[in-house]
């Protein structure tokens, strides 16, 4: 599971050639909303040439192509990326009714069958399970800006307006063991706001969070790493379980049973994975 997905515009060389120095677990090279229509071809050519000549270290590379409905752009995106060493694509305006065609197009272009589905319309949240169930879908990503625009409400730092979408996405992704990726925090210089938002995403069950600025990566990793206290408690739970040869006991006045032991084990695995990165 990747904790951070950093968006990088596909038409800016100085960002492309530094994509593996920002410490993000994954980057998303953007061909869609972050690129002006006049610059789409430049983004395609720059990205293709960059991926052809430069090996990227320790970072998964995705491209947010244009939406399936933007047929000409979508086809040109895939044609230009054909054979490129990508981890996968991010599919905007994802909907289950397009997935068969998208998978066919990916096959034709010789691209990996790894789709991060971007959910950004109110309707698609009622199809989230269908998206998560599809074998080519590796994760679900919440698109908060387009969603709130469609809902006709402002984005707030508290995020109440996207709570239903967040929870729906997490439940669907977890039902099929897929990545659940939270929407980016869009205020660049509000560090407290970012930390609060990322902690909330972690608490809701997201496995990672997207970012629109490299400065956000560190704080996202902090928020998604288990705390020292949580690690210590998990270690004590596992030690006691091992000592008692039981998954049912009391610790600090709280009942511990099998789900709690398994959660402790999962938390320690996540902590170990965070330390390795």
């Amino acid at each position: 599971m990747r904790r951070s997905y950093l968006f990088i515009p596909g038409d800016v060389p100085r960002m492309l050639q530094n994509l593996d120095v920002f410490d993000a677990d994954a980057v998303i090279i953007d061909f869609e909303d972050g690129v002006h229509p006049d610059q789409k071809e430049a983004a395609r050519q720059l990205t293709r040439a960059f991926l052809k000549h430069h090996a990227t270290r320790d970072v998964a590379v995705f491209v947010r192509v244009n939406a399936w409905e933007e047929a000409a752009w979508f086809q040109e995106d895939l044609a230009c990326l054909s054979g490129s060493p990508l981890s996968g694509i991010v599919l905007p305006k994802a909907h289950p009714k397009h997935l068969t065609d998208v998978v066919f197009a990916l096959e034709e272009a010789g691209l990996p069958m790894q789709i991060v589905a971007l959910l950004e319309t109110p309707e698609v949240f009622f199809h989230a399970l269908e998206l998560a169930k599809h074998p080519a879908v590796s994760g679900l990503l919440l698109g908060g800006e387009d969603l709130t625009q469609a809902l006709g409400v402002p984005r707030t730092s508290a995020g109440d307006e996207i709570l239903f979408a967040r929870s729906t996405l997490v439940y669907a992704a977890k039902a099929f063991n897929k990545e659940a990726i939270d929407t980016p925090f869009t205020t660049v210089d509000d560090r407290d706001g970012l930390l609060a938002d990322a902690h909330k995403a972690n608490a809701l069950g997201f496995t990672g969070k997207a970012a629109i600025h490299p400065n956000h990566i560190h704080d996202i990793h902090v928020a998604f790493a288990p705390s020292v206290e949580a690690i210590e408690t998990a270690e004590r739970i596992l030690r006691r379980s091992e000592t008692l040869k039981s998954m049912r006991f009391s610790l600090d006045g709280k009942m511990v049973d099998k789900p709690v032991v398994e959660r402790a084990r999962a938390l320690l695995l996540r902590a170990a994975a965070s330390r390795r990165r």
Binding site: P13, Q17, Q45, L46, A49, K52
Partner: protein, 95 residues
């Protein structure tokens, strides 16, 4: 045929202008001209050769772009340049 310009003057990028000429003519203005001028010119000629483009003037203002960026910017410029040529031919045929 129209003049076509692509790219930016930001760091690590370059701006490339293609315009009609009777033969291939490459002009490079680079912040790293002394060290990389020949390498930049080699990239330009390789891409022009691949495109089979000879009657063209190429003006490059380089701000420290790597080879991949120069190649990509030039390929984009050639695409737009050839599209502009096609549009002109179409207007001649239909005019």
């Amino acid at each position: 045929m129209k003049k076509v310009t692509v790219g930016t003057l930001e760091s690590s990028d370059c701006q490339i202008t293609l315009s009609p000429a009777t033969h291939r003519h490459v002009v490079i203005d680079s912040v790293v001209q002394a060290v990389f001028g020949e390498a930049i010119e080699a990239v330009i000629h390789r891409v022009l050769d691949q495109a089979g483009l000879d009657s063209v003037r190429v003006d490059v203002i380089d701000k420290g772009a790597l080879d991949y960026a120069i190649e990509a910017r030039l390929k984009t410029a050639i695409k737009y340049y050839e599209e502009a040529a096609d549009e002109k031919e179409l207007s001649i045929h239909t005019g």
